[in-house]
């Protein structure tokens, strides 16, 4: 309470248009709205590095083990590209490198948080409602940035504390925590600027993501060649590169943090200036106009579904392709990794069930690809529910379009989109590994087939979403819980030696481990049949129920 009141009192005395009046009240509003999601992501990410420390300690107990790791996997070009350089050979350094993808994730979450509470609010018109109260024009931006940056710093502190509790170097742990915090603050500020530029939140998110992507690519190019390569100077051009230059668990260069602080300050100032110069709900960049008339294809539910699903589809396909290239690229590294460590070999074989390490690696990779495809399928299927509750479906279903036809148009994307995604991921993996190993003609069909084999399990998850949508519409969101359970069972069930019937709950348990195993059609056919029944039940339920029209 005190922050908001204090700001209000100051405003009474000073100029009435004080730009930051009401920031405290808005911070409380954001915290109230994000009271679940904010602590969840902060904790989830903060726990990861500590988990890596303990698992590295378990897998590589001796100095010799770790030296071997450092000489092989730790300096493998793909690992260097994905995670960044390795700064030492103690468990802290190993864990910090392995957690090298976290700054990207923290940056992304912070950027989205800022846009969600600034541009998205303006777009929804809620900003206008608040703007008419005693609220400075800079307050929404200041509040969103304050929350995102405070969350970044809290995350940094918790990460450091978690790692210190695992008994690693205090300086290294603090440096790594600050690396995460710096990424969060810088990209929150980047999003603060992006939110001023466009009228639509989607476009603002696109700009922020593109900047983050560019920073990642530059960091990757700088690190892929290993220590002392000619491109290393590039990392000074990328805020993510600064994080690696900070060298946690190496010779910590603390002054690098000043770069992050300075860039954050410059971006925040820029965002504040831009925000002060524009109208509420307007963007600095002119809004794009659409066509005055609908193109010929936009004349039925499928045309409409295409317009709604095509952009996410392109995004997911790009992601699947990138993932495939990574999986194909690290395949040799995985081979090295296992050579170093017989325990890991056993775990891999348990996961994949194969004798060939490479096959086991690809099989477990394709299972993960399958899970991601299921995530995409769920999000595409949930679009139906979103269309319904946002009242977009109401005028459409009041035309000559029947409910089943309307649902099937969306399902087309929820079923075929993931199929395409699996094909792309499988082909990219097979092709990349094939080009590296010089046998693309063999690996391309092999891995593409392995990826496509996941499809019946993916479809079953989609079908459960459809069943919930049709039969228990209020519980449609629970599909994410189902998805989470399936993912956990699939990823950790075999390693934890969970009861077989628990493991059988996940449809992915029933998919043959490919490549390197016999293909049996029966489970695939069964899964597809169950999926068909569940989806049909869902559609039947949707045909009979009331629309949720608020």
């Amino acid at each position: 309470m005190s922050a908001g009141k204090g700001a209000g009192r100051r405003a009474d005395r000073a100029a009435p248009g004080h730009a930051l009046v009401g920031t405290g009240a808005l911070i409380r509003l954001i915290l109230r709205r994000d009271r679940f999601i904010l602590p969840i992501w902060v904790l989830l990410i903060a726990v990861m590095p500590a988990t890596f420390v303990s698992s590295f300690r378990e897998l590589y107990p001796t100095d010799a083990d770790r030296l071997r790791w450092a000489a092989t996997s730790g300096t493998n070009p793909t690992f260097l590209a994905l995670y960044g350089p390795l700064h030492g050979t103690d468990v802290g350094a190993l864990a910090a490198q392995r957690a090298g993808f976290l700054p990207v994730i923290v940056g992304l979450i912070c950027a989205f948080t800022v846009i969600r509470h600034t541009r998205a609010e303006e777009e929804a018109g809620r900003r206008e409602l608040l703007g008419a109260t005693v609220l400075g024009r800079g307050a929404p931006l200041a509040a969103a940035l304050a929350v995102a940056m405070a969350a970044s710093l809290a995350l940094g502190a918790l990460t450091a504390a978690g790692m210190i509790a695992q008994d690693v170097s205090v300086a290294g742990a603090v440096a790594f925590g600050l690396q995460l915090a710096m990424a969060g603050c810088v990209f929150a500020a980047v999003a603060g600027v992006a939110a001023q530029l466009t009228e639509g939140s989607r476009a603002a998110r696109g700009i922020a993501t593109a900047v983050l992507g560019a920073a990642f690519v530059v960091r990757m190019a700088a690190d892929v060649g290993g220590q002392g390569n000619g491109l290393q100077w590039l990392s000074w051009l990328s805020p993510l590169g600064w994080g690696t230059r900070l060298a946690p668990f190496g010779d910590e260069r603390w002054w690098v943090l000043l770069l992050g602080a300075a860039l954050t300050a410059v971006l925040v100032a820029a965002a504040g200036t831009l925000s002060g110069r524009r109208d509420v709900a307007a963007g600095i960049l002119p809004p794009t106009l659409g066509a005055a008339e609908a193109p010929a294809y936009l004349s039925g539910p499928v045309g409409l579904a295409w317009r709604l699903h095509s952009r996410p589809l392109y995004g997911w396909l790009a992601g699947f392709a990138a993932l495939g290239v990574v999986y194909g690229g690290v395949a040799d590294g995985a081979d090295d990794l296992v050579k170093d460590n017989p325990d890991l070999e056993e775990i891999m074989a348990r996961l994949g069930g194969q004798t060939s390490i490479l096959d086991a690696y690809f099989a477990s990779s394709m299972t993960i690809v399958g899970l991601i495809a299921a995530g995409y399928a769920v999000s595409a299927a949930l679009r139906m529910r979103a269309e319904e509750t946002s009242l977009h479906a109401e005028p459409v279903l009041a035309t000559a379009v029947g409910r089943v036809r309307w649902s099937c148009a969306h399902l087309l994307f929820a079923l075929l989109g993931p199929a395409l995604g699996l094909a792309v991921a499988g082909a990219a993996t097979g092709l990349t590994h094939g080009l590296i190993s010089g046998d693309a003609g063999d690996w391309l069909p092999r891995i593409t087939g392995a990826a496509m084999a996941q499809l019946p399990a993916v479809w079953l998850v989609t079908a459960v979403a459809v069943a919930l949508f049709g039969l228990a519409p209020r519980l449609t969101g629970a599909i994410w819980g189902v998805f989470g359970a399936v993912a956990l069972i699939t990823l950790f069930g075999p390693a934890l030696r969970l009861n077989q019937w628990v493991q059988d709950v996940s449809p992915f348990t029933h998919i043959p481990k490919l490549p390197g195993n016999e293909v049996s059609a029966a489970p695939l056919v069964w899964l597809a049949a169950i999926a068909a029944v569940a989806a049909a039940a869902g559609l039947g339920g949707f045909r009979r129920r009331d629309l949720s029209l608020g």
Binding site: A294, G300, P395, L397, A398
Partner: protein, 305 residues
């Protein structure tokens, strides 16, 4: 002529419950072919629920509803070819332009009159190139209206269609609805803007808490209510207060003001003329008074005076 040609909407005893709330509690509604039918009621009285049942978006729990001779639930898609609907809150897809949405909805209904579409865009001063997210509330409503009015359909179902329109656009809307009536289209117009209903509707149905409380031609309904009389008499108005048709009598010397049951106007006027009338103004009831009378018990004391 078959039954549904004369009565495109026939609803009787309609019941709909949402959990414990009884949104519709035996509602009746009959709309004649070719008329503009006003559907009146305060917020939450069940107008939108009735319309959504008629559109097959919700399923009735009891009573019967016939739309264009068919079952609104079972024959939904077949019936929807013949009508256009504008919801009270038009929500647009953020990444589709207004023009695209108009064309899409028209095509989904089975056809759009291109000339009329362009003419309506001009009359409503709507820019079809803007993206859905960029329109104001009034402009979103216009997108829905243009899409409906330009469709080749025999019936329009409009749920508070003018919310957010400015008075100039309200006037354009009223002209358009008159044109629709002249073309012989049936219009169900749900509204709580009484002047709009008074200006446009042939018949009205007034509902309250999910029940029909009054229905009929506007002219007939006026008979059911009271006329205001303000008269200057030659003598003191003795005997006026004895007449049961006289209400709210206020006497100030020889001047009287009162409300009279319109059906018994004759009797009151006879008494007044027998006393000698110096001046007389009488005002017929407005729809507003009609409306307020039905909701009096829900209103705060100050307003019912």
């Amino acid at each position: 002529m078959t039954q549904h040609d004369t009565f495109p909407i026939e609803v009787s005893g309609l019941v709909k419950t949402f959990g414990r709330t009884r949104a519709l509690d035996g509602l009746d509604l009959t709309v004649r072919a070719g008329e503009v039918h006003g559907f009146l009621g305060p917020n939450g009285s069940g107008k939108s629920t009735t319309i959504r049942i008629l559109l097959g978006l919700l399923r009735a729990d009891g009573g019967t509803a016939r739309l264009l001779g068919g079952d609104p639930w079972k024959d939904a898609t077949r019936l929807h070819r013949r009508l256009a609907y504008v919801p009270g809150d038009v929500t647009l897809w953020p990444n589709l332009s207004g023009g695209e949405i108009i064309d899409l909805l028209g095509r989904l209904r089975g056809g759009l009159d291109r000339r009329r579409r362009d003419e309506l865009l001009e009359r409503f001063e709507l820019d079809p190139k803007k993206k859905g997210r960029a329109y104001s509330k009034g402009n979103r409503q216009k997108v829905g209206l243009v899409a409906a009015l330009a469709s080749n359909v025999e019936m329009l179902i409009l749920d508070e269609p003018t919310s957010g329109l400015d008075p100039l656009m309200e006037e354009v809307f009223q002209q358009c609805i008159r044109e629709e009536r002249d073309r012989g289209r049936t219009v169900l117009l749900s509204s709580h803007i009484l002047s709009e209903v008074e200006a446009l509707c042939d018949r009205v149905t007034i509902i309250r808490k999910g029940r029909t409380v009054e229905t009929g031609a506007l002219a007939d309904l006026r008979h059911l209510t009271r006329t205001s009389i303000d008269a200057e008499l030659a003598a003191a108005p003795d005997g006026l207060s004895d007449l049961p048709a006289v209400h709210d009598l206020r006497v100030d010397g020889h001047r009287v003001r009162c409300e009279v049951d319109t059906a018994d106007l004759d009797e009151v006027l006879r008494l007044l003329t027998s006393l000698g009338v110096r001046s007389l103004t009488s005002r017929p009831p407005t729809l507003e008074e009609l409306f307020l009378r039905h909701y009096q018990d829900e209103m705060p004391q100050a307003v019912t005076r």
